[in-house]
Symmetry: C2
Subunit: 210 residues, 2 copies
């Protein structure tokens, strides 16, 4: 039941970066790339790259490097992105719109299916082609779409926990949290925090240090 983590968390967080980079290389028509050259592009040590890749399998060939098409396919299946994953957006403000735009640019193995908001101006409309529903429809929507297990939370901090509880009770198991609140969730739920205000403060601080 409780699957052992197959690879270190630090590696897990880099795999999507590799995947995205190899997609780009593929689009550019690159056939092979060596860890040394990839290291320069991605600003990651070649040893770290090879170590990370070794968790997935023996992807490379000595003297040749990594076959771009092969690695893309391998990473894709490793990430479970062979079939696209659906997610929902909580909040339909500027951040939500930015995320929808981001998502459109990238190779679409993650599909934002719907956004939820309380604003009567937004409800009933679309962002790109993503429909915006009222928050009161959230529970029903998730009940009807049980394959959706990930939500992006871009709602105000004050209601973040309350919405989280609802998401979890409706079967959501992964939350990308843009609020500054740390969310209380059962251990079975994964939360990734993106605290933009703190990030900016950290940067300002580090800049003055350096």
């Amino acid at each position: 039941m409780n699957e052992q983590r197959l690879l270190p968390r630090a590696t897990a967080k880099r795999i999507p970066q590799y995947y995205r980079q190899f997609q780009k290389l593929q689009a550019e028509g690159v056939i092979n790339i060596m860890s040394k050259d990839l290291a320069i592009i991605m600003k990651i040590e070649p040893t770290t790259i090879r170590r990370d890749f070794s968790y997935i399998g023996e992807l490379g060939k000595q003297r040749v490097g990594y076959d771009v098409n092969y690695v893309v396919a391998k990473l894709q299946s490793f990430l479970g992105f062979d079939e696209p994953k659906s997610v929902v957006l909580i909040g339909a403000g500027h951040l939500a719109t930015a995320l929808i735009n981001y998502n459109y640019i990238k190779g679409n193995n993650i599909l934002i299916r719907a956004a939820f908001d309380n604003s009567s101006e937004k409800v009933g409309g679309v962002i790109r082609d993503i429909p915006v529903y009222h928050m009161s429809d959230l529970a029903r929507y998730l009940a009807e779409n049980p394959h959706i297990t990930v939500a992006i939370l871009s709602a105000p901090s004050e209601v973040a926990q309350e919405i989280t509880d609802e998401l979890v009770s409706q079967g959501i198991r992964g939350i990308l949290n843009f609020s500054s609140k740390r969310l209380d969730v059962p251990r079975t739920v994964t939360v990734e925090n993106v605290d933009l205000a703190s990030k900016l403060q950290t940067l300002v601080y580090l800049t003055d240090q350096a």
Copy 2:
């Protein structure tokens, strides 16, 4: 010249979180808090909190915990936020607007002074009360405002490096990078990366793992 890093990078990244949390506690009228209780709120081990604080000084009192007002003042001066820091925004799209809104909610020791964009619809307008200028005015603006040393880069990836070079040549020493490109900068320049697309992919992957 080359100032030694005073505290571990992991700690440096948490200090702004502590600062924000203590601001909140202050607003709520909390007088004292103990590491054990703070740990529950912030989801950080009490030992980690005490260890982090010890880098700043002996902030607490046995049996009493941490005086909220005192810690806010201490963190503020430690972060160099006694006087507010000015930053500029590159790009005036939805992400930029979201960041401006974020910034307005928080205690304002970081001031976004101006945004720069190429869109003729946006140039000349304001977001909240932040003026939007044309990208071609960036160099002059930074030359006239040499106290601005931090920029938020929310421009498309294709032009990210080009803009970075311009920022650096105009004296910018800290960049919050929202593009998916890793930026080439001199070692004197600090970059914090926020790769939203990768974050989302990581979350989806980890969710399926758990």
